[in-house]
Symmetry: C2
Subunit: 165 residues, 2 copies
Amino acid sequence: MNEFTFKPIGYIRSEHHILEKTPIQPVFARECTGRIELLPEYVDGLESIDGFSHIYLLYWLHKAKPAQMIVKPYLQDCEHGIFATRFPNRPNPIGMSIVRFVKMEGATIWVNDVDILDGTPLLDIKPYTKSFDCFPGCKNGWYSDIDPETAQRRGKRGYEEKNDL
Amino acid sequence: MNEFTFKPIGYIRSEHHILEKTPIQPVFARECTGRIELLPEYVDGLESIDGFSHIYLLYWLHKAKPAQMIVKPYLQDCEHGIFATRFPNRPNPIGMSIVRFVKMEGATIWVNDVDILDGTPLLDIKPYTKSFDCFPGCKNGWYSDIDPETAQRRGKRGYEEKNDL
């Protein structure tokens, strides 16, 4: 019960090749298309997934540095506990993104709003559903203190939105 | 890059002691209180988390059976791919629940709407925020075919809501 071993079920491909310029959340990576290359033995597990517009990707933050308990997140120059942020340097570096499903073909799934570094190992895919995952009345902690313009500027980290799409 | 090792950051305590009677999602475990017992070395990472009303828990589904690619989910007698469901028998058995934050004291966090088996090893805590995580206009796949009453009955799996709270 002291260690668990996980293995990649596939890899995420994206246009983000530089860690420092990778957007920090899908809301800052609008129209950034990427794809999942699933390992062939898992393809049957995709049945029915095309009925969902949004899916969770859980992945290994393979470039994360050692865990820090107190961090300054990308969006704000204030310190917060690692568990009150999505910062990558976590005790178990599991990343999570809610991306938009575009289409699939064989072992490839095209997705949109991708904020993930190219080559990232994928751990799991879960369907997003309003009934389980949408809480519009939630309290947003320190995120409430950030104005939307600052959030977009800092959250994109150099990624330029494609306005022509 | 072929295997990643994760370790528990703490354990989840709940009133669910029988796997077969554990609700399958927080929406089917209303007012079911539980707590997280974090390991002492991670307590500093909780700073600022009390500003959020909802938090993600990622945990090891330690009682999951070997992975199946096609499953019949608890809510419906139809077969779907494992990645189009939250069913536990996944290639990497990582569970995810959005629970309500109640209060914390030292290494203990009290949470509500807990659909997790007592003693489950915790992997990560992430803040839930409307800006990143709430998509009210999403398409809900096969979940749309289930009427809310059936969902509540099957999703609770014997757990009785406490109406007196």
